[in-house]
Amino acid sequence: MALSQINRTSSRGRTAFPSGPGGGLRRGRSKNDGVAPWLFILPTFLGIGIFFLWPMAQSVYFSFTEWGAFGGNTWTGLENYRRLVSDADVLGALMNTVVYAGVSLLSIPVAIYLAGLINRPGLRFKGLFRTLYFLPVITMPAAVSIVWRIMYNGDFGIINYLLSTVGIQGPYWLATPGVAIIAVALVGIWTSLGMNMIILGAGLQGIPTEIYEAAELDGASPWRQFRAITVPLLTPSIFFVTVMTVIGSFKVFDLLFVMLGAGNPVTQASQTLVYLFYDKAFIANDKGYAAAIGLLLLVLIALVTFLQFRLQKKWVTYA
């Protein structure tokens, strides 16, 4: 309510922008704008400050405290971090997170291949295919998870039924330690494929056709064209998708929560860092320790992303 009020007022205060027949901003005016520009960024700034920066600062503080069952906290210094480094659950969750991220990265080659197919000139029903692949992206993760949980059912699920018709006995996907996290990651791939395809598809369309024509004149096979032209020129898009996939899979929670959840005996062995964070913060009510886990996650994501940006110089080609 309060925020929308600010927004409405801001859009009415149009006088701050000179929009005469000349159009555009004249440099000379900037000094006279006074407080108005600040007012325009205030709503966003308040939103980020109150709902993002302030809670973040609080979380850092909370990671040095211990919480009672119903709130109230006491300063315990580095105790939570001492626990963190010796906690087998944290190490396990970290490994699961890495496995999940690893499996998720496999979606990128698939997305490149599918983007290539869908962008082939002359393909019919292009819009239909694109919609079908994009549908999971805009479907609620909870709904997706419930349907997949039914399909993954070891005794009565359709996946194991289809496998049995070709003589394979499928595992109990969501009830076997080690398999469960991969089964969940496969659903994660399915839900993110559409988005990655759109980004990579846009990258493909950005490659000038003359290059291919020239290559063809030189007698390059389609495979050679793909390796020598498409992939190198697509690397900026691939890089972007990789960074986003890694960040996204480090933060996975909803799929795990609905597909495995509290009652499942393999949840403990399959939990990721965010699930562990949830478990400590809201089930065990160990909010201080949970804040420390959250911070660990933040540092990890920052570190991995930093490394990726460092390494991109070695493989990303900006044409």
Binding site: A2, Q5, T9, G68, F70, G72, D155, A175, F282, I283
Partner: protein, 423 residues
């Protein structure tokens, strides 16, 4: 411009106040207006929601100034949500409470003692079983009005017994008769995907019964020591593990994907231990007319676990006067009658239980009422949730066959004792 500034300043103030609300401390609350209020009532069982709505309609017809919003949260998230709400002083006015969580809330001052409520005189403890009054008493104060109780019975599917050519279970079955019959049925009908038995893998539906049947115990009476390393307790755990290991029951993986009660209700398991609150689930079964219930097979002794819910009023409620009216209504014989007739749960109000057994005349539900006489109380301590998590984690290794019952028992006892020592 001035006007804009004013609105921005106002909005900022509003936002700051809002966020300040979030961190509010608990312990406030007030009586409010007994005649006019908007109450929130939190429950977790969707199967019982229709009865609750019916009761709310009756109550608001008598108290037109009061509205009651019913909030249903699935059990797996119910206490997570409640604790978060209670931490910020926004708990529902009145809500369901269970044994494992009661002491945590009572000891932290989150509940209103009954004698502080204006309608305390209308709520006579003599109307409810003593065991339930005791369960919801903390340091001499009563906090909850018992709503219902549950015991555990032994369900069997006559059609499967006929198919396997075996005699139905009798009232005086032993644990051994159960295990040999379960194995025999699995061996005979295994090709059709039918098992002798199946388990819901929570304590109340499984080992909280087989453990006392074997003469073991989960937690000491003073809630300070774990009984999981007692040889008798281990025997009770092994009783279940054996059925999973020898194929009498689906494996733990199968039971994780498809709960034991689903196997039973869909005619894929011949027998099962099941608490009385599962009756509504079996009412919808297509095998409704072929199943019946008997007392649990006796181990070293006859035993089953009993537990019951209560309605409680939040310490933070701003409408305690209206909430206590509703609380008294929920604890009345009239309300108990509605619960009983729905067949959903055994009402706690003394004398109203017969209506419950009559709700499903096709089954011998009297078994559950008789079971109260040889029941043991549900194991709880101040922070039950913490060692409940250990049970799930460590026992899953036993069910999967990765550990022996001795190993699991010893490991669990050590971990649980450490958790109890911190309470």
């Amino acid at each position: 411009m001035k006007k804009t500034m004013g609105i921005v300043a106002l909005s900022t103030a509003a936002l700051l106040t809002l966020s300040a609300c979030g961190g509010g401390a608990s312990g406030g609350g007030s009586e409010g207006d007994a005649e006019s209020a908007e109450l929130t009532y939190a429950i977790w069982d969707k199967a019982q929601a229709p009865v609750v709505e019916e009761l709310v309609a009756d109550f608001t017809a008598e108290n037109p100034g009061i509205t009651v919003n019913v909030e249903v949260t699935p059990y797996n998230q119910y206490f997570t949500k409640l604790q978060t709400q209670a931490s910020s002083g926004t708990a529902p006015d009145i809500f369901w409470m269970n044994g494992p969580n009661f002491q945590l809330y009572a000891s932290n001052g989150q509940l209103t003692p009954l004698d502080e409520l204006p309608n305390a005189a209308d709520i006579d403890p003599a109307n409810y079983p003593q065991a339930l009054n005791d369960l919801y008493t903390f340091e001499g104060s009563r906090y909850g009005v018992p709503k219902d109780f549950d015991t555990v019975g032994f369900w069997y599917n006559k059609a499967i017994f006929d198919q396997a050519g075996m005699d139905y279970p009798t009232e005086d079955w032993t644990g051994e008769e159960f295990t040999t019959t379960a194995k025999a049925i699995s061996d005979t009908l295994g090709d059709e995907g039918i098992f002798g038995t199946a388990w819901d893998t929570d304590g109340q539906a499984s080992w909280y019964n087989t453990v006392p049947q074997a003469g073991g115990w989960v937690i000491s009476e003073d809630s300070t020591t774990s009984g999981y390393d007692d040889p008798k307790t281990i025997e009770g755990l092994d009783f279940i593990a054996q059925t999973m290991a020898n194929g009498s029951s689906p494996t733990i993986e199968q039971l994780t994907d498809t709960a034991g009660s689903q196997w039973f209700a869909s005619g894929k398991a011949a027998m099962m231990y099941s608490p009385s609150y599962m009756v509504p689930a079996f009412m919808d079964s297509e095998f409704k007319d072929q199943i019946d219930v008997a007392p649990l097979p006796e181990g070293e002794q006859a035993a089953n676990v009993t537990h019951g819910l209560a309605n409680v009023v939040s310490a933070d409620s701003e409408n305690k006067a209206a909430a206590s009216r509703f609380l008294a209504f929920l604890g009345s014989e009239e309300a108990a009658q509605a619960w009983a007739e729905s067949g959903a749960v055994i009402p706690a109000f003394n004398g109203s239980q017969d209506a419950w057994t009559e709700s499903n005349p096709q089954w011998n539900l009297q078994v559950f009422l008789d079971a109260a006489e040889y029941s043991v109380s549900y194991p709880i301590s101040k922070n039950t949730a913490e060692w409940n998590a250990l049970e799930t984690e460590i026992l899953s290794g036993l069910w999967a066959g990765n550990k022996t019952a001795e190993e699991a028992g010893a490991e669990l006892a050590a971990a649980m004792n450490e958790s109890l020592s911190k309470e």
